[in-house]
C-alpha cells in the first residue's frame, strides 16, 4: 500500500460538537452513529444521542420516507440534549440531504456521497434540480466525496461482490468523522471483530473502508482543520453507555434480585418497547421468565397470573398496547396485586408515528380505566433514570400491593447517554414477605401504614381464598354489593395510592428556588429544559425547574413550590396534559409549551418560550 503524505493541519480545541449521519434505512446509519457514540464515550465525553428512523423497515431505497438518521452531541461539558443544530451532516443520498440539511448550522460541514446524486437518485428524492449544482448549499462547507467508488477501490482485493462492498461505505464515512475529530479507531476494530467473528472477511472489509475514509481526509487538502473535543468532567466512577430500554431491563433484573423473587415479563412486540423484551429474554441465568403473549391483553393478564403466584410481574408496551391492557389493569387494581406496566410512548392516536416520540399517554395512564381506578404513575427523565425508575416502581408495587405505571418514550428508549454504574449497595432495599401465618388471615385486611393487603400465594397451606374483579367486602374479601361497603372500598383503594406520597421526595427546584418563572416538566423533556434553564440563568434570569418523576401521587410540596414563582410554564410533547392536571389540582394559572412533531424540544424552543413569558410579565 502506498504511504500517505500527511499534510500539516490546523488543530482546534472545541467544547462540543454535533454530528448527524443520515442515509437510507439500508445504509447502516444507526450502526455508524452507535460506533461514533461508543468511541466518544470511551474517550470520556459526555453525550446524548437521537436515533431517528422510519416506521417502514425498508421503505423504497433512496426515497424521502426511507431516510434514517442518527445524531450525537458530544462534549467536554455536561450534555442534556442531542443538540439543536448540527455541525457535521453526513448525507448518503439526496433524500437524506433534503430531509436533514435544514438542521445544519450555517457554515457547517456537509459530507455527501456524490455517487448517489445521479439523475435517478434525484428523482427518487423528488429533487427538481441537483442541490450539488444549484447553489442551494452555498452557505455550507460542502465536501462531495465519491464514497461508493472509493470504498470499492479500498476493498478491491478482498474478492467481495459489489453489493457487499457497498455495504461498507458507511464505515468510510465513519472513518472520515474519526479523522475530523481525531478519534482512535481501535474501539470500532474490536467491535467489528466481535460482530463478524464467523466472517472475518467482513470485519476486514469494514476496517479497510474505515481506514480508507480516515486516510482520505488525511490526504485531501480540502480538510483544513481537525477538531479536539476533550473529555468531560463527569462524576468519578465506572461508566457505560445506556439506552432507556436497556436501563429498564437491567433495572427490573436488579429489582427482582433485591426483592429475592423471580421476574416474569409478559409482553407483545410493539415499537418502541420491544427491545425490553429482547433484552430480558437473554437473562435466563437470572431466572428471568419472558413470555411473548398472543396480544397485549394476554401480556397484562399473564403478568397478573404471575403476580398472583408470587413473581415480580411486569408488562411492557406502547400506547396502543396500553389501551388494550386497561381493563386488565383495572382487575389488578381490584385484586390488589403488584405489577409494573411500562408504557414507552410514541406518536398517536392509533398507529400514529410508531418510531417517533411523544408524551401524550399521561392522561391515559392516570385516568384511562373504567370507574375509580387510580394507580401510582412514574416517569423517567433520562435514559439512565429508567434504571432507577424500574427499581422505584417495583418497590412501590410490592410495598403497597398495587399496579404501577412507568412512562418512558421513544426518545428515552432509543437515546443513549453515559451512565454511572451503581454499586449493588446503592440499590434500594425491596423487602417482600408472603403471608404464611394462618392465624387471623383475612385476604383484604390491611397494613395500617401502607394499606397493602397480604400477599398469600397459592400453595400456602391453610390460606385458601378467592379473589376476583367483583366488589369485595372490606377485610374478608367476600363478594359484596352493599352500597356503603362499595364506597368504603373505592375510598380505600384511592387512599392506598395516595399513601404512596410518603415515599415521594419533596421537589427541590433546579436553578432559582423562587423567582419569575418556574418550568415544570416530566419525562424526556428533562434534557432540553435543563439546557435552556442553564443558558437563561447565565443571562441573569430568575427561573427554576421542577422535573416530576412521580406523577401520581404528586410530591407533597409541589403546590407550595408552584406559588413561589410569578409564572409557571409546562413544556410537554402533547397538547397540555400535565398542564391540565396542575391547573385542576393547584388552581394555578400555568401555561403550556407544546410540541407534537414526533421530535424532542430544542433548547432554543424552550428558551424562546422563557423569554416570551418573561417579556409578558415584565
Amino acid at each position: 500500500m502506498a504511504t500517505i503524505e500527511t499534510l500539516p493541519r490546523k488543530r482546534e480545541t472545541i467544547e462540543q460538537a454535533v454530528i448527524r449521519f443520515a442515509g437510507d434505512s439500508g445504509d447502516g446509519m444507526q450502526i455508524t452513529g452507535s460506533q461514533f457514540t461508543n468511541t466518544a464515550a470511551m474517550l470520556g465525553n459526555d453525550l446524548a444521542t437521537f436515533p431517528d428512523f422510519p416506521a417502514e423497515i425498508r421503505a423504497p431505497a433512496g426515497t424521502l420516507p426511507g431516510v434514517s438518521g442518527f445524531q450525537i452531541n458530544f462534549s467536554s461539558r455536561d450534555v442534556f440534549t442531542a443538540g439543536d443544530a448540527v455541525d457535521v451532516l453526513v448525507a448518503m443520498n439526496p433524500a437524506a440531504l433534503a430531509t436533514n440539511v435544514a438542521d445544519l448550522k450555517p457554515g457547517g460541514i456537509l459530507i455527501v456521497n456524490v455517487d448517489n446524486f445521479k439523475e435517478v437518485d434525484l428523482k427518487k428524492a423528488q429533487a427538481k434540480t441537483n442541490p450539488l449544482e444549484d447553489h442551494s448549499l452555498d452557505g455550507y462547507r460542502l465536501f462531495p466525496v465519491e464514497l461508493t467508488k472509493l470504498t470499492r477501490l479500498a476493498l478491491r482485493d478482498l474478492g467481495l461482490d459489489a453489493k457487499s462492498m457497498d455495504r461498507c461505505k458507511n464505515f468510510f464515512a465513519l472513518g472520515m468523522c474519526y479523522w475530523l475529530y481525531n478519534r482512535p479507531m481501535d474501539h470500532t476494530y474490536k467491535w467489528l471483530d466481535e460482530k463478524f467473528g464467523s466472517k472475518p472477511v467482513l470485519a476486514e472489509a469494514n476496517k479497510l473502508a474505515m481506514k480508507a475514509g480516515y486516510a482520505y481526509c488525511d490526504a485531501t487538502e480540502a480538510f483544513q482543520v481537525r477538531y479536539e473535543v476533550p473529555a468531560a468532567k463527569l462524576e468519578p466512577g465506572l461508566y457505560r453507555n445506556i439506552s432507556g430500554n436497556s436501563a429498564l431491563a437491567l433495572g427490573f433484573v436488579a429489582a427482582a434480585r433485591k426483592a429475592a423473587i423471580p421476574l416474569f415479563q409478559g409482553s407483545y412486540p410493539i415499537t418502541p418497547a420491544s427491545d425490553i423484551l429482547h433484552e430480558l429474554s437473554m437473562y435466563k441465568e437470572f431466572g428471568v421468565m419472558t413470555f411473548q403473549a398472543e396480544d397485549e391483553i394476554a401480556a397484562m393478564t399473564s403478568a397478573i397470573g404471575a403476580a398472583y403466584g408470587g413473581a415480580l410481574a411486569i408488562t411492557t408496551t406502547s400506547g396502543p398496547g396500553m389501551a388494550l391492557k386497561m381493563e386488565a389493569i383495572g382487575l389488578a387494581i381490584a385484586v390488589e396485586l403488584p405489577i409494573v406496566i411500562c408504557d414507552i410512548q410514541r406518536g398517536g392516536p392509533s398507529t400514529g408515528l410508531p418510531t417517533k416520540t411523544e408524551q401524550a399517554d399521561l392522561l391515559q395512564a392516570l385516568y384511562g380505566r373504567n370507574s375509580e381506578a387510580p394507580v401510582p404513575v412514574l416517569a423517567a427523565a433520562t435514559p439512565g433514570d429508567c434504571f432507577w425508575m424500574a427499581l422505584e416502581a417495583s418497590r412501590i408495587a410490592l410495598k403497597y400491593m398495587v399496579p404501577v405505571i412507568i412512562l418512558s418514550d421513544g426518545y428515552l428508549a432509543n437515546g443513549a447517554e453515559p451512565w454511572k454504574i451503581p454499586a449493588l449497595e446503592e440499590l434500594p432495599e425491596i423487602p417482600v414477605k408472603y403471608r404464611t401465618e394462618r392465624e387471623g388471615f383475612m385476604p383484604y385486611s390491611r397494613d395500617p401504614n401502607t394499606l397493602a393487603r397480604p400477599w398469600a400465594v397459592p400453595g400456602t397451606p391453610g390460606l385458601e381464598h378467592r379473589i376476583g374483579g367483583l366488589e369485595k367486602q372490606d377485610v374478608t374479601g367476600n363478594v359484596n354489593y352493599e352500597p356503603l361497603n362499595h364506597e368504603r372500598m373505592v375510598r380505600l383503594r384511592a387512599a392506598k395510592v395516595a399513601a404512596v406520597v410518603q415515599d415521594v421526595p419533596d421537589v427541590v427546584p433546579a436553578g432559582d428556588p423562587d423567582g419569575d418563572l418556574l418550568l415544570v416538566g416530566w419525562g424526556s423533556t428533562f434534557g432540553p429544559i435543563t439546557a435552556a434553564l442553564g443558558a437563561q440563568r447565565a443571562r441573569g434570569r430568575r427561573i427554576g425547574h421542577v422535573h416530576l418523576r412521580h406523577l401520581n401521587p404528586l410530591p407533597k410540596n409541589l403546590g407550595e413550590v408552584l406559588k413561589r414563582y410569578r409564572k409557571v410554564v409546562v413544556p410537554e410533547m402533547n397538547l397540555g396534559q400535565l398542564l391540565w392536571v396542575l391547573r385542576a389540582k393547584y388552581l394555578v394559572d400555568a401555561e403550556g409549551l407544546n410540541k407534537i412533531q414526533g421530535k424532542p424540544f430544542k433548547q432554543s424552543e424552550v428558551e424562546a418560550k422563557i423569554e416570551e413569558t418573561l417579556r409578558e410579565i415584565r
Binding site: 403473549a293 397470573g305 397459592p458 400453595g459 378467592r466 376476583g468
Partner: protein, 339 residues
Amino acid sequence: MTTTLPVYTKKDFQTDQEVRWCPGCGDYAILSAVQSVFPELGIPKEKFVVVSGIGCSSRFPYYMNTYGFHTIHGRAPAVATGLKLTRPDLEVWVATGDGDALSIGGNHTIHMIRRNVGLKVLLFNNKIYGLTKGQYSPTSEMGKKAKSTPYGSVDRPFNPLSLALGAEATFVARSVDVFQSHLKATLKRAAAHQGTAFIEILQNCNIFNDGAWENLTERDVRDDNTIAIEHGQPLVFGKNKDKGIRMDGLDLEVVALGNGITEKDLIIHDERHLNPAYAFLLSRMDGTPGFPTPLGVLRAIDAPRYEAGMNEQVRLAIQKKGQGDLTKLLRAGDTWEVR
C-alpha cells in the same frame, strides 16, 4: 422426607359462600362432580387453583374451597398461563363458558391450547350467554331465536371440540352435566393429563336455553343420539348396541351391526392417534343427521408443554453460566473509568 396427605372429603372443597346459580342450573352438577373428584386426586388442597373468566359458569371458583381467581371476561386462559408458567408446581384448573372461552376469549383459548400449557379447562357449554340474560352465543345453532336475535341468528356456530383439535389440543374430551359418573371419570382423566386438558361439558341453562341438550340426555333417546367412546373399544352405540361407525373413504359411516357386519369392521377408538384429523372426524359427527354425538376422550397424546420448555431454558442457562451475577451484568459491554 415423606409427607402424608390429609384424607380429604367432598366437604373439604365446599365453601361457606351461598351458591347463586338459578335453581335447576346444570352448573350445580358440575360443581358437585368437581368437588367429588378433587379429594381423590392425591394432591394437597393448597396446590389447587381455579381460575375463571366472567359468566354464570365463571362464578365457579367462589364455591370451591381452594385458591381461586375470578378474573375478567375471556382472559382466564391467559391469567392461568402466567400462573402456571411461573408456578408449575400448582394444579391450575380453568372454568369458562361458551361465550367466555370462544367469543371474547377465543384468542387466548387457541393460544393456550397451541402452547399446551398444563391447565385443565372446563368449558361449560350451555349454547347461550347466561349471565347477560340470554343472548345467543358462538355455539348456538344457526337460526337461534334469542334476546338479540328475534329473527333467528344468522351465525354459523363453533364446535368447541373441532376448534380445540384445530389448535392441536393434546387432550380433548366431552361430558355432560347430568351424566355424573361419566363426568367424574372424564375429570379424572383430565387431571392425569400433562398439557392442556380441554373438556367441553354440555350444561343446561334452564332459564335461558332450557332443554338445549335434551336430545342427548333424555332417557329414551340418549343411547341412539350419543356414543360413549373409549380407547381400544369399537365405536358402537344405540339402545341395543346394534349400530356402529366405520370408515368410508375419508368419511365416517353409520352402519347397522349384523348381516355380515361385525364389530371387526368398525373403528377401534385410538385416542393416541397422532394425527388430529382422526379426532376431528369424530368431532364432526355432531349435528350430522343420523350420527351420534361423541362423549368421552377423543384425543390424549403427549406433546411438549410450554412451561416445561421455558423453565428448562432457565435451568440450563443457570447450569451453563452459573447463577446470574448482577454486578457483572451491570458492567457488561464497554465501560470506562472516570477519575
